[in-house]
């Protein structure tokens, strides 16, 4: 069987989750590899959540928040952005390719863009192949 990546996505409730719902109501088809976890704000996404997803065997992690300036909580998405850059450096040192971790802005009206993003990210991760961190950690522990 060909490699089917497992992807965890954290979506903010107000923009991105609503955008993903819109993709649904518009019946736009996209890859089934992304498992969505709803948070109120992308600012809630703790580094631990991302690390945990990789630890449990995710091949890719995606965070989606409101576009800059549109955050329901004013600036949670900026806080997320800052953390994202630091976290990318961190996972790199753990031996996880930075391309496996992505942050994108999806508004409530961008159902089409969300579907496209999922397909592109799934393709990127498929090309990268399985992430080995879970196996490594399983051996270590």
């Amino acid at each position: 069987m060909s490699f089917q990546p497992k992807i965890v996505a954290f979506l903010c409730n107000w923009c991105s989750y609503t955008g993903a719902d819109l993709a649904g109501t518009s019946r736009i088809k996209y890859a089934a590899n992304v498992n969505i976890i709803r948070v109120m704000c992308s600012g809630r996404v703790e580094p631990t959540f991302v690390i945990k997803a990789f630890r449990e065997g995710a091949d890719g992690v995606l965070i989606c928040g409101c576009h800059p300036g549109d955050c329901h909580y004013h600036e949670g998405n900026y806080k997320c952005l800052r953390r994202f850059h630091l976290l990318q450096k961190y996972i790199d040192q753990m031996g996880i390719d930075q391309k496996r971790f992505n942050l994108e802005w999806i508004s409530a009206s961008e159902g089409k863009q969300f579907a496209k993003l999922v397909d592109q990210f799934t393709q990127t991760i498929t090309n990268l192949g399985p992430c080995s961190i879970k196996t490594t950690m399983d051996v270590l522990s």
């Binding site: 609503t18 109120m40 704000c41 809630r44 703790e46 065997g57 549109d70 329901h72 949670g76 409530a108």
Partner: protein, 571 residues
């Protein structure tokens, strides 16, 4: 596990999912049903809670944005705390977006397994309510804002009304007669403005704007910026009724607006009508008047939506033009007639009997093209149109062309959205809480919408929405209190090291530092539950209720483990 008729069941093997889920740890029973949100569906949940002494419920169905509250209510009715519940979105985010039944079923299982893991860590949260200051702020002095202000003020409640222009009245100030009954729009609005201006309970501020609104439902405050002064006002509810503006047709080069004389917008033609002189640029009466519909509306390059009022406005203006100049020939160049609303279809049908010519064009293929006429043409302009119904290419003579311009969101729509804490759709109109069941509330408690700032509307629809928003606010005032967010953050004083990182990242200044205890304290009323503090806390002292670390980490674990198990089954 809800089927949602065939909406979910067609793409997800719901019965198989239920069977699989019943094997998981802590699961007492797993059931599937045609429509979980229906009364029998909810009754089943309530019955099962009582019968089996269940203390956690997971429902997989549509988006929680649709029915989370419905099911929380069901839990409450069964005597269970509403937060002992988790909803899994397997319709909008699974069955409607995937095309392989086996993949969709697998994904549904993983997501539900995550939710089952998560709900284990849920805890009871108690409702919190605050008193409501009855004073209401209305932003926008057009027909919607004025109607809402009057309704609220007539109930004996004080209203602050803010208008950015020098006078009240909004868009209708510029409209001569309304469709379909030819009532004077201008007179209508003057009467209402007078009533508002003389109402003892309404304080109107013209040439004014508000700065950012602070506070929470029932207890807001904001600075009003007027010409020469600033004033702090306090209020409990807000109605946003900021209206819309007309589209500038200059970019549609086919129509030559701004270049060709006698090509004008519907608003400019309306002004001619109200002044009583419909004249071309050289001061003569036009013999041929053409109305071009959908200018900037239903056009993928500008606004994909229908502006809702232009068809009827064109019919009305054409009739008025015929009344002003009975010998004139009028043409409606339309893409699709949308004469919806009470009495409007009859109004349209009536135009046929009045010698109006209707010519249809295909907006996808080619827009009409306006050119200057040559001297021998005996008119000012020539419109080339590929007429759809006859299939012929025609040249329509015109002395004057009226462009039925689209309605679009205000220039400052974004600023107002930020100031009031509401969200916009892609086209900059404001998003309602629920498109069908709550079309005048917003996702911010205490802030409501009225009129065309939500979407283009005619007068009756604007007034209806304004009255509905007013009724909602009056109901809240009558009740006296409102429930506020309980999924807030809380500091564990034992773990807090006093670094104050949370104080800096909080967008609502809801966290302060207690210098005596040397710990951070969250104001539970000001906190809106974004969780940014929780993810910044270096010692894990902040608990974001209902989005705790444990809950989310378990959810990740549950869904990943199920994904792997299902993969192994296949191998």
């Amino acid at each position: 596990m809800c089927w949602c008729g065939t909406n979910i069941a067609k793409m997800v093997d719901v019965e198989d999912v239920a069977k699989e889920m019943s094997k998981l740890k802590h699961v007492v029973l797993a059931k599937d049903y045609k429509y979980m949100c229906s009364d029998p569906g909810q009754d089943m949940i309530i019955q099962d809670i009582k019968e089996h002494n269940l203390n956690r419920i997971v429902v997989s169905a549509c988006s929680p944005r649709m029915h989370e509250l419905t099911f929380r209510k069901a839990l409450e009715n069964a005597g269970l705390n509403p937060y002992m519940f988790e909803m899994v979105n397997i319709r909008e985010q699974v069955s409607w977006v995937h095309s392989s039944r086996s993949e969709a079923t697998k994904k549904a299982k993983a997501l539900i397994a995550g939710a089952i893991n998560r709900v284990y860590w849920h805890s009871s949260l108690d409702k919190r309510s605050v008193e409501i200051d009855p004073t209401t702020l209305v932003i926008g002095g057009g027909i919607a804002g004025l109607s809402a202000s009057l309704k609220i003020a007539n109930a004996g409640i004080n209203v602050f009304l803010i208008e950015k222009e020098t006078v009240l009245g909004g868009m209708l100030k510029n409209i001569d007669l309304s469709f379909p009954h030819f009532q004077g729009a201008n007179e209508l609005i003057k009467k209402i403005v007078n009533r508002v201006a003389n109402h003892p309970n309404i304080k109107a501020f013209t040439s004014s704007q508000i700065k950012e609104i602070f506070g929470y439902v029932g207890n807001f405050e904001a600075q009003i910026l007027s010409k020469d002064k600033e004033e702090l006002i306090k209020f409990g509810s807000v109605i946003v009724a900021t209206g819309l503006k007309t589209f500038d047709p200059t970019p549609l080069t086919n129509y030559g607006y701004g270049k060709l004389k006698n090509v004008i917008t519907s608003l400019e033609f309306e002004k001619m009508l109200s002044q009583g002189n419909v004249l071309t640029s050289d001061g003569s009466e036009p013999n041929h008047i053409a109305f071009i519909h959908c200018v900037g509306s239903r056009n993928q390059d500008y606004h994909p939506y229908c502006s809702r009022v232009c068809c009827n406005t064109a019919l009305k203006q054409a009739k008025q033009a015929k009344m002003a100049i009975p010998s004139a020939q009028v043409y409606n160049l339309y893409a699709d007639m949308r004469s919806i609303g009470k009495d409007n279809e009859e109004f349209y049908a009536n135009s046929f009997n009045r010698d109006h010519m209707f010519l249809m064009f295909d907006q996808q293929k080619a827009l009409p093209l306006i050119k200057s006429a040559s001297p021998k043409d005996n008119c000012n302009l020539i419109i080339e149109i590929d007429e759809l119904l006859s299939g012929e290419s025609l040249e329509v003579p015109a002395d004057m062309v009226v462009l039925m311009v689209a309605m679009e969101a205000q220039h400052n729509a974004k600023e107002i959205a930020h100031a009031t804490g509401i969200s916009m759709c892609g086209n900059d109109f404001y998003i309602e809480r629920h498109p069908k069941l709550d079309p005048f509330a917003t996702t911010t408690a205490g802030v409501f919408l009225a009129g065309t700032c939500q979407s283009p509307k005619d007068i009756p629809d604007s007034v209806t929405q304004a009255n509905a928003a007013a009724a909602r606010i009056l109901a809240a005032i009558k009740k006296g209190s409102a429930e506020v967010e309980v999924t807030t953050a809380e500091v564990n004083e034992e773990l807090c090291c006093g670094c104050q990182t949370c104080v800096k990242v909080c967008p609502y200044t809801a966290i302060h530092f207690d210098p005596d205890k040397k710990v951070s304290v969250v104001n539970q009323i000001l906190c809106k539950g974004c969780g940014t503090c929780g993810s910044s806390c270096p010692t894990g002292a902040i608990k974001c209720h209902h989005y705790t670390d444990q809950q989310i980490l378990s959810q990740i674990e549950g869904l990943m483990q199920m994904s792997y198990e299902l993969e192994e089954d296949l191998l």
